[in-house]
Each structure stands twice: as structure tokens, then as C-alpha cells.
Amino acid sequence: MNTEKKKGWKEIPMAGVCWVPSTSYLTGDWKIYRPVWDSEKCTRCVLCHLYCPDGAITWKAKTNEMIFNYDYCKGCGICEAECPTNAISMKLEGEP
């Protein structure tokens, strides 16, 4: 969350040009359920990455892993619903 002191009119770029990438704004605290990934069941089809509205899942080529970025994941459950091998399960936040 952006907690820095708000700037004055002389300090900000003109014309409303945005000076912070949205990635600095964490939407992860919106979620109630959190997707939990099962590497064993996963076939690396990357569908979850493609369908996630928030770009919260990336495929790391080097290690061939699906990385879930909980800072952005809003817990919508699309990835769980779309995973063809049931490799994702939604868990209540705070529960194992």
C-alpha cells in the first residue's frame, strides 16, 4: 500500500502522467481464499497463468515451476476452476 506522504502540485508530473506502476499496489489482501499449488499434479499447461485476471501466476522456465504471487492474487478461484488436473485448491486464508 502506498503510504508515502502526498506530494504538492509542484512536485508531481503534469497532465496526470502516472508515476507509479500498479505493481506497487498490492491487491493480495483482498482475498479470503488462497490458491495452493500441487507441483505433483501439475502438468505445466500454464492455463492458470493465462486465465488469471491479475497476472498473479507466472511460469518460471528455469525451474519449470508455477509461481503464485500472493501479493496480487485476489483469490477469485479461476485458476482452481480451470486447472485441468486439479492441481490447485483454494484454501481459507490463514489455514494450512
Binding site: 502526498k6 504538492g8 502540485w9 508530473p13 497532465a15 496526470g16 502522467v17 502516472c18 508515476w19 506502476p21
Partner: protein, 412 residues
């Protein structure tokens, strides 16, 4: 050789619309987007001829509406293009929403407005109601007196709008029919002189979301986001920035006007206001646009009779040159402000509001009255102007103002 010839200029007969098109042709404009409407149509027609005859290197977009025309100019300017559009009356009203967006996006669009009345009832003739309603839209507004000034103002407009300290859109008003459709001799500069004068657009740097300082334009190498959702946190700050740019504009308008005088030999007062026989005047009228020509004739007549009459013509109505107005009217005893539009239910016309307000502290003892005239193209005769000066004489004599706001040239 005359001064004109010395500068390689030539005189050609142009109506006001043609003078606009001719100036735009010389200014190396990248994108022109426009939509026809009387009395502006000649501008788009003339410019279309230039395009179809290969005389200009310009993308000409014949849009399906004025709303889209201005939008095209705005986004083209955001990409870095020099842009121009022209409209009048209903067309300007249709653009209304985008006028604010253009200034808010700091897009230096140049627009000619052939001033025309607003409907209803529909009327194609001159008054200033179309551009007066846009006085708070964040556009610089310049009103020309004759076709020569129309031509000169358009050329200066590109420099003013695109100036890094300003970056605001600018509207050049020319009175519909009185100028737009009236042939006058216009002295034009050689193409290369104009081209040098306007030169190329420069882009100030802004901080983008990658933390880089990048040129203020839509460029894939240096991406920026323009036109976001801007709520309680920062919207106010952005509007303050716009006001600041407006406040910087007068100096730049004057400077560019002076630079232009050097290449052309032509001046219009100091670029912001023009005074006519005002130095020792007791009676003054104030007006915008072509009416000034008629007023000057009347002033000369009165002067010949020993009446100390003068005229103040406001050239830049936005930003309002408050100090110049105060200065010019310092010794005047009675002032008639002439408004070619009506602010229904208001306390006089829009020019009156501003002038009287500007004088409130500085010249509290000056009598300032208002005349609404010329709506829908109604003629403003020398006789009527003479009557206004006579009213002012009476006010000074009696020390009383009978009517603060009057309509002139209207049948009861």
C-alpha cells in the same frame, strides 16, 4: 521598397477563413482534423484543396463529428504531432467535453473558431456566445480584429501553445462572416520564414511509472500513461498546475508576439491588449474582435471634435491580462464594456464581469457600464457606437449611471 517587400512578404486578398488555411499551410502542421460548419467551412475546404493538390505534408482527417475532430487532434498531439482544428457554434458546443480533456491532457492543439451564435433558434451569423461559454475550459483565447491579424495570430498560436512553459491549447477567434467571409488584403510571409518561426515541437520531460524522466509524448521506448482516474488525492493539484501554466502564458504570448513583429513588422498592442488613443482618454469602450475596427473610426471622429475618446481591445481574453487592463484604463473616467454574447440571468455579459471585477480595487471611482450587442450577427453601426460614447459623457456629467446593463441595436 516598402517594409513589407523588404521582408519578402506579399499581399494577397484573402477572406478570414482563407487566411487561417493559408497560415496553417505554412506552419508544417502534422495532423488537421475537422468537420464543416458555417462560417468555418471555408477553412476545411481550402485546406482540403492544399492536401489534394499536394501542397502540404499533413494528415487531414475529415472526421464524422467535431467531437472526434478535437479528439483526433488531442491524441495526435499526445503522440507528438503539431495539430490544428477549426469549428464554430454548435461544433464548438459539441466539442465542449473534449475542450476540457485537451487542456487537462496538456495537448497544445490550435483551433480557429469562426465565431457564431448558438441555437436555438438557429442562426449562422456572428456573436461570441460559442467561445465565451468555453472561457473556463483551460484554453488560451485570442480574438482577431481583421484578417491580417487572423493570419498572424494563427502562426503565433502554434508557438504559444507548444511552448514548454505553457503547453495549453489555444483558440483563435475570428468573427463569423465579418471576417470569415470578407475579403481583405493580407500580407503573408514567405513559407520558409514561417517554418523557421514555428520550428519543430519540443517536449518537456516528465517522470513516468518506470521512474525515468522521459519526453512528454506517447512513445513505446519511454511509455507514459495520460488521462488516468484522478480522484480526491491529486485532481486538485493537476488543476492548479493548469492554472500555473495559464499564469505563465501572458509573458510568453508577449514574447512571441514581439519575435513575430521582428519578422513581419506587425504588432497588435503588446500582444495581449491593444490601446487606441487611450493615453489621455476620459471615455473608453472595450471590445473584442472586428467591432474594434468600427469603434476606431468613431473614436477618430470624436477626437476630431475634441472629445477625449479611446478604445481598449482585448486580444487575449484568456489568460485575462488584468494588469494591462488596469494600466490602460488608469485615467479613464467612464467605460463601456461591449459584449457580443449574453450571460442569461447574470449581471451583464462575460467581458463586463471580468473587466468590472478587474477594476474593482484599482479604479473604484470609474463608471463601468455594459452593452450587449450584435447577437446573431446584428450589425453594430457607427451611429450606435457614437451613442454609447454620448452615454458615457452623460454619466461623467451627471455622475450617475442610469442603466448598468443595456442592449444596443435591439428593437423594443
Amino acid at each position: 521598397m516598402t517594409a513589407i517587400q523588404q521582408k519578402g512578404q506579399k499581399v494577397i486578398a484573402l477572406n478570414g477563413d482563407e487566411a487561417v488555411a493559408y497560415a496553417v499551410k505554412q506552419c508544417d502542421v502534422d495532423v488537421v482534423a475537422a468537420y464543416p460548419i458555417t462560417p468555418q467551412t471555408i477553412i476545411v475546404e481550402k485546406f482540403s484543396e492544399y492536401v489534394h493538390d499536394g501542397e502540404v505534408d499533413t494528415e487531414f482527417i475529415c472526421t464524422e463529428s467535431e467531437h472526434s475532430a478535437l479528439t483526433c487532434c488531442l491524441t495526435a498531439a499526445a503522440v507528438g504531432a503539431r495539430t490544428f482544428t477549426a469549428t464554430a457554434s454548435a461544433g464548438l458546443a459539441l466539442m465542449h467535453e473534449i475542450l476540457y480533456v485537451t487542456s487537462g491532457c496538456r495537448a497544445p492543439v490550435v483551433m480557429a473558431v469562426a465565431n457564431r451564435a448558438l441555437s436555438a433558434p438557429i442562426n449562422i451569423h456572428c456573436d461570441h456566445s460559442d467561445s465565451m461559454v468555453e472561457r473556463d475550459s483551460g484554453w488560451i483565447q485570442v480574438y482577431a480584429e481583421n484578417n491580417q491579424e487572423v493570419y498572424d495570430s494563427i502562426i503565433q498560436a502554434f508557438r504559444i501553445a507548444e511552448h514548454a512553459e505553457v503547453l495549453l491549447p489555444i483558440l483563435v477567434g475570428l468573427d463569423g462572416f465579418f471576417l470569415s467571409h470578407t475579403l481583405e488584403n493580407v500580407c503573408v510571409l514567405p513559407d520558409e520564414v514561417v517554418r523557421n518561426f514555428v520550428s519543430q515541437r519540443q517536449f518537456p520531460l516528465v517522470k513516468n511509472h518506470e521512474g525515468k524522466l522521459v519526453p512528454f509524448k506517447l512513445d513505446p521506448e519511454n511509455p507514459i500513461t495520460i488521462g488516468p482516474l484522478d480522484l480526491q488525492d491529486y485532481y486538485f493539484e493537476h488543476k492548479r498546475q493548469q492554472e500555473e501554466a495559464m499564469q505563465r502564458a501572458p509573458e510568453i504570448i508577449k514574447k512571441i508576439h514581439e519575435e513575430y513583429a521582428e519578422i513581419s513588422g506587425r504588432r497588435y498592442g503588446n500582444g495581449l491588449v491593444e490601446t487606441y488613443r487611450l493615453e489621455d482618454a476620459e471615455l473608453a469602450t472595450i471590445c473584442l474582435g472586428s467591432t474594434a475596427g468600427t469603434v476606431k473610426t468613431v473614436v477618430d471622429e470624436l477626437r476630431a471634435k475634441g472629445v477625449r475618446a479611446g478604445l481598449l481591445r482585448i486580444r487575449a481574453f484568456r489568460p485575462l491580462p488584468v494588469q494591462d487592463i488596469i494600466e490602460a484604463l488608469r485615467n479613464v473616467k467612464a467605460i463601456a464594456v461591449m459584449d457580443r454574447s449574453c450571460s442569461f440571468g447574470g449581471y451583464g455579459g462575460p467581458v463586463f464581469h471580468e473587466i468590472r471585477h478587474a477594476l474593482y480595487d484599482s479604479n473604484p471611482h470609474t463608471h463601468t457600464v455594459n452593452y450587449i450587442y450584435g447577437l446573431g450577427g446584428r450589425d453594430m453601426s457607427q451611429h450606435m457606437i457614437l451613442k454609447i460614447y454620448q452615454d458615457l459623457e452623460m454619466i461623467i456629467k451627471t455622475g450617475r449611471t442610469e442603466h448598468l446593463v443595456q442592449f444596443v441595436g435591439l428593437r423594443e
